[in-house]
Amino acid sequence: MRIALFITCVNDLAFPATGIAVTRILRRLGHTVDFPADQTCCGQMHANTGYRAEAMPMVRNYVDVFDSYDAIVAPSGSCTAMIRDQYPHLHPPATSVAARTYELSELLVDVLGVTDVGAEFRETVTYHPTCHGLRMLRLGDRPLTLLRQVRGIKLVELGDAEECCGFGGTFALKNPDVSTAMLTDKCARVRDTGARVLAAADNSCLAHIGGGLDRHRSGVRAVHYAEILAETGATS
């Protein structure tokens, strides 16, 4: 199976560790992965902010870059949801490649049939299901299924887990007061758990929650769950 990595623009620039983690997990499981260098951005920010015309070149570029792969994996619930939910309407030729695009946990659990990726991570972790993963992709407990198999991990439940963190892309900038109020509540629930690590499937939400946690010097680290799955306990 030819698997391509769609790393997403934000991860490429600001969170390379997540892409590196996805690469390591898949290689550890014996798969060859490719990173087509011509990839850019899925166009979600443009499309969801009201600039669909400006998003279209990115949509077409995605099809050009990825159409020849059997499976495309993205470590982002919201980018995957953009591709799978919106692409077929925006650009019908994208329908087939959109259907072959998976969020990491979907690729692992549904396509590759793996729940134990051989990870070890000795920390207390709480998991926030991001909205697009939860309600658009219906990831269900796939990410948690994967995390539960991690050796040494202590998973603690997050209160009001299914409530949005208040990021919402440009929402955070356009509605800073409401966004901050939602963030404050989410950070409080995270701190209530006593976990030292907050995991989620989207680095954009994590930058928002993590940024809030850092601001309050909470000592909780926000990481993409792929980075936990990549850990083997060996000193790297």
Partner: protein, 481 residues
């Protein structure tokens, strides 16, 4: 042969006087309001979830509800004519109103013709929308709201902040305070127990019900094949208004139609469980024209367009007309919970308001509302008629007038991102450019983040640190292998 007539936008209380972020600011800062909304929305969420979970065919009911409403929209002109014919045959008089002002004129004229200088009102979104109380008052007619929450809002000189519970923003202590201040016949020792407050409202309105000559209502449903109107309520104020006065005037949006009486079997299961979280609301009244010797003998229906034709004209936004005003989407909305209903500036708050108000007025007149959402999708999950609110929000954002600076930035970004070569160069540039700063912050604080930035980035950094580009981008790492 009729000439084509363009659909028209509406008027009334459906426009935001202030942009949503500005209007939300004081609400977010009001800790009492936040606490009231938090408590009330959590209560109702849990109740709704419990009674929905016990229905094994809930999804089938939602599918049927959505399809019936789509069918209504598709056949709206013919169903309206059918409704008019059946209601008229049953003894009702049907009126048509193009907009809010015309609807108000009709109700005022009918009230005057009945020789009344006061009306009792059943809670109705349509009459709020057309600002009927103000129009009646201008004509020297007193309008008495009889729904408990509407009464609270009216006595408090306030406006509703929720579709179902217009006074959701008040807690019991605040309600007692309003009653003591504004209700002349409130007992001196009124407690803030909900039962005591309800008792005070009962005593206050009793005489008015028994002597009212004209009542004004809305309708939850209007059945085309029989001409039946349906009002769903809890307190019995609806039954009082719909039964005791001689004249009954019902103001009904044209989208409220259902094709057949049988279709009620779907909606009367969906609505109560979604709205108050009950298996069934205490009272539902259905009437078809006039019944000799039973109830009002002078029955009027005012069918109102007021922007609904404009909503219908947009195939993507059209499903907003399926809304049955259950308010489930408000109750689960994290933005509504923090901002409250008044921030939406329209009688329709929350997620449904964020799509319906801009469509009724034209997006340019309510441009901030489609952005009053994180697109988290909680509204779509609970909507009993499966309105894909996030999809319509994104659709309306395409039509919204964009701020010039934002437009320029988005265009530049798109120009960069559409080209793999330019994007790779931009990534390199951002990484290199931010490199020294990132290294400096990392030495100082142990993290590659920024704490304070000038506007517009300050909208981010006032409550969160901002991550800087990593020392090496992913593609650089990949290239080195």
């Amino acid at each position: 042969m009729s000439r084509p007539v363009a659909p028209a936008t509406g008027s009334g209380r459906i426009r935001t006087p202030l942009p949503f972020p500005t209007a939300a600011k004081p609400a977010v800062a009001d800790t009492q309001l936040r606490a009231n909304l938090h408590r009330a929305t959590r209560t109702i969420r849990a109740k709704r979830a419990r009674v929905v979970d016990e229905v094994p065919d809930w999804e089938a009911l939602r599918d049927a509800g959505a399809a019936i409403k789509a069918d209504v929209q598709r056949r709206l002109p013919e169903l309206l004519e059918q409704f008019e014919a059946s209601a008229t045959a049953a003894g009702a008089t049907v009126h048509w109103a193009r907009d809010a002002a015309e609807a108000c004129r009709i109700v005022v004229a009918l009230t005057q013709a009945a020789g009344a200088d006061e009306v009792v009102k059943v809670k109705s979104m349509a009459t709020q929308e057309i600002e009927l109380n103000e129009a009646l008052e201008a004509a020297g007619i007193a309008a008495y709201e009889t729904d408990l929450a509407e009464l609270i809002v009216q006595l408090g000189d306030d406006t509703p902040s929720h579709i179902l519970v217009p006074a959701i923003h008040y807690n019991r202590a605040q309600i007692r305070e309003i009653f003591q201040r504004r209700m002349a016949d409130a007992p001196a020792d009124l407690s803030d127990e909900p039962a005591a407050l309800a008792e005070a409202a009962r005593a206050h309105l009793r005489r008015r019900f028994l002597s009212a000559r004209v009542a004004v209502s809305g309708a939850n449903f209007a059945v085309a094949d029989t001409g039946t109107l349906v009002v769903v309520e809890s307190e019995g104020n609806g039954r009082m208004c719909l039964t005791l006065p001689e004249t009954l005037i019902s103001v009904v949006g044209v989208e409220k139609l259902l094709p057949t009486f049988t279709d009620l079997e779907v909606f009367l299961q969906l609505l109560p469980r979604s709205s108050t979280g009950e298996r069934m609301n205490p009272y539902t009244s259905m009437w078809t024209g006039v019944t000799p010797g039973d109830g009002p003998q002078d029955v009027h229906v005012v069918l109102v367009d007021n922007g609904r034709s404009a909503v219908l004209a947009d195939p993507v936004g059209r499903p907003a007309l399926s809304c049955i005003r259950c308010s489930a989407c408000l109750n689960v909305c994290p933005v509504y919970e923090r901002a409250g209903g008044h921030a939406y500036g329209s009688v329709y708050p929350g997620p449904i308001g964020a799509i319906l108000s801009p469509q009724l007025t034209g997006v340019a007149d309510n441009a901030s509302l489609p952005y009053a959402s994180t697109l988290c999708g909680a509204c779509y999950d609970v909507c009993p008629v499966k309105i894909n609110i996030p999809e319509i929000l994104v659709h309306l954002r395409q039509q919204a007038p964009h701020p010039p600076a934002e437009r320029a930035a988005m265009r530049v970004l798109s120009w960069v991102m559409r080209s793999p070569r330019r994007w790779a160069a931009a990534l390199r540039l951002a990484r290199v450019g931010a490199g020294p700063l990132g290294a400096y912050r990392e030495r100082r604080t142990g993290a590659r983040t920024l704490r304070r930035l000038p506007w517009p980035a300050s909208a981010w950094t006032r409550s969160r640190d901002l991550p800087l580009p990593a020392p090496q981008t992913f593609r650089e790492w990949w290239g080195k292998q």
